[in-house]
């Protein structure tokens, strides 16, 4: 044995590496099969951050497909309903640079909900078929109405309406939903104080 090693050091080293490599390679291969991860964990995490409006403004048919696309390297700035906060969260998760919202896919607007002007509804059920979250209630030739608490404001129902009786109304602030706003950063250094007063005066 020692004789063999001393006589053929190169061959001996090669054999030793092979002897190590084969079982460990096999072990790794077995582990890869045995402990294979089901699904796409990154897509799951991305999906958890998306607002789930299912609006399709990102040009994908829903939040899950977009999450999968992001997991495969799609840009993270295509979700207007999520806005800057979602982009920031995605950037943190994927450890990429946070980029501004891609205006091509729409702007971050105030939250809206669909409202059907019920007098004008003809009961065609087209909006019901368009709603991704089944938030519209109604039947053929019966007036339809939106379940406000379930509406995600995706405005997918607006376009199919043949009589244009669906409005996207901003969510109204009530006493219960009202909240304090972050103070405006009026931070100035003491010497600026007098000049600012003069300007405002």
């Amino acid at each position: 044995m020692t004789e063999f090693i001393s006589q053929y050091p190169f061959l001996a080293a090669l054999l030793a590496l092979l002897a190590l490599g084969i079982p460990f390679g096999g072990l790794l291969g077995f582990a890869a099969v045995k402990f294979k991860t089901e699904g796409d964990p990154i897509a799951d995490q991305v999906e958890a951050l998306l607002p789930q409006t299912q609006c399709g403004q990102c040009s994908y048919p829903g939040c899950r497909p977009y999450a999968e696309a992001i997991a495969n390297g799609e840009a993270i700035n295509k979700c207007p309903p999520g806005g800057e906060s979602t982009i920031q969260a995605l950037a943190d998760l994927l450890d990429v640079e946070a980029v501004p919202l891609d205006a091509e896919h729409g702007e971050e607007n105030v939250k809206t909900v669909a409202y059907i002007r019920e007098d004008e509804c003809i009961g065609c059920t087209k909006c019901i078929q368009a709603c991704p979250v089944d938030a519209i209630l109604g039947a053929a030739k019966q007036m339809h109405t939106v379940i406000i608490s379930e509406c995600t404001g995706c405005d997918l129902c607006v376009e199919p309406c043949p009589v244009d009786c669906i409005d996207m109304l901003p969510v109204e602030t009530t006493l219960q939903s009202w909240s304090w706003e972050l103070p405006k950063p009026a931070e100035i250094i003491a010497t600026d104080h007098s000049t600012e007063k003069e300007v405002t005066a």
Binding site: Q54, P132, L182, A186
Partner: protein, 692 residues
Amino acid sequence: MIKVWDIHGGIHPQENKNQSNQRPIESAGIPDRLVFPLSQHIGVPAVAIVSVGQHVLKGEMIAGAKGMMSVPVHASTSGEIVAIQDHPVPHPSTMSAPCVILKPDGKDQWIEHQGVENYLKLEKNELLNHIRNAGIAGMGGAGFPSAVKLNIQDEQIVETLIINGTECEPYITSDDRLMRERANEIVAGIKILEHLINPTKKTLVGVEDNKPEALAALQQAADGTDIDIVSFPTKYPSGGEKQLIQILTGKEVPAGGLPADVGVVCQNIGTSLAIYRAIAHGEPLISRITTVTGNACERNTNYEVLLGTPVSFLLDLCNFHQKNCSRLIMGGPMMGFTLENVSVPIVKTSNCILAPTADELPLSTPSQACIRCGMCAEVCPASLLPQQLYWFSRGKEYEKLEAHNLMDCIECGACSYACPSNIPLVQYYRASKADIRQLKQDAIKAEQSKMRFEARQERLDRQEAEKEAKRKARKLAAEERARDNNKSDPIQAAIDRAKAKKAAIDSDKPIVGKTSALLVRQGLEKTLTNIENRLLTATEKLRQAEQENSANVEAFRTSVEKTNIKCIKAKQELDVFNADNPVSSGASSIPVSISMPAEKKVLTGDAAQDAIAKALAKRDAASNMTDEERLQNAVTAITKRLEKAQQKLTVEKQKNGEHIELLASAVTKLELKLADANDAYLQFRQATNNQP
């Protein structure tokens, strides 16, 4: 002497309580308009149960509780409901909310009410119902429904009942005056609470040592009871529920927990009094003590105010000077909010109206950069790190804010007070708290939307799968049928049939290629058989009908006759056909060929050849005729046609049809032709007669 603990941080702002606590409580009186917001408490807004124009009495319920987390609202004097509409309410948002508006009639007439004779005999639930129906919500500031707070589950052990008489915020003296003047009623209320909660250890009333008169009054009232009146050093904000618990028991309420988690229930002095009035006298919560103070008011004092009284009414009582006032505050200088509208009413939680001058409470100067001095952390009573929270709040790092326990912030304002850079720290925390709550709600909604979306997707997929399955089943069935037919594939079968027929014809009658004629004969024969069968059945039915003397005998008879006629006709047709197409094939062929004319015996390959042969035969026959005969035939034919034409004309004339003229001309032409033919025949006859 009962041991007290200290809390972390805290500040000592100027107390400014002496301005208002020198005079006894006065009644504010009845304004000419009362406004009752439906939501004066935390939880679900009450529902108005009166209608416009209805007359209500003092203490009458005008809005009912909606669910457990809600309390009713009562009219604070007698009068008429003039409106139920949106009205500005005391809220930092300066928004409007649904309110019941009452116009007092000045009589201040009570509704019939009666206290409980002996509350000790009452069931706990009944007592709680009394408290709930009296519309009592926490009067310290938050307005939490008291009946909910006092509803202690059986498995929950409450060691200590704490009554909060701290009133630590500057300027406010309403509880102070209340304790001084109505100590006996307060103690009676505490006894009711004791009975309800049944604390295993003790009942403590916590009062800061800057209210010696109140302490003395309470001690006197509580003499001989197990209620301990505890005095502790003045410090803001020791009146916070969690802080007071720590001061009096040394226990800290865990983050995100409730006082009940450390075996404590806390109630406000004002609430205790309201509970006493409700139980002992049956009076609902219709008034409260409110401090009106500040240098912009000439008179600083405490008023017993009917709930719903507009703030402007109180300010008028105190000779309020608008021009001196820098801003009007509801609540204290630390935790209160600015009032934009003086028409807002006093509600269950309004403990103070502060009208300071600009010198007294200057407007906050613009904030400057954080110098990381750490003063805020030193004064924070919740042991938080306000400076860190400030940075995270500005950076909207909500996860880190939560990790730094922003939600334990009691928004006391001590950090803002201590900040040398005048940073409005509490505003940052309030905004961030709201954002976090919003994010949490959004997350819940997103989860819900996702579930609904997935459920819908699943449903659509299922429907699609069902359709697909049906389609497949149909396809399979079609294939199955096709396989069955394959045993006698339609095309193959047709070819086979044709072949078989041809073979049969070929073998039977090699010279007859007339498949069509054969088929026609077969058809005719079949018809005949069918009709014969029908005739048989019809005759059978007729006989039966005759035997049974049925009413349908006549109908059967006609049907038999008709079938008979049809049968005869079919037979004739077959005979005629056989006569025209003599075939001696098998049994069905009829040996008529012998009787056929000679020229018709020529049988050729098909019908066209047959017709040609016929025509040829006719011509031969005609050529065999003599000229005389031919001419005679022509005359006879034309005569026949003329007769027919004349008949048609007469018929047409009778009908007065439109073809009269046409027919008439045809008749004339035929007459001319007949004349010609007659002439030709006569000339021929003459010629032949002349020849011999």
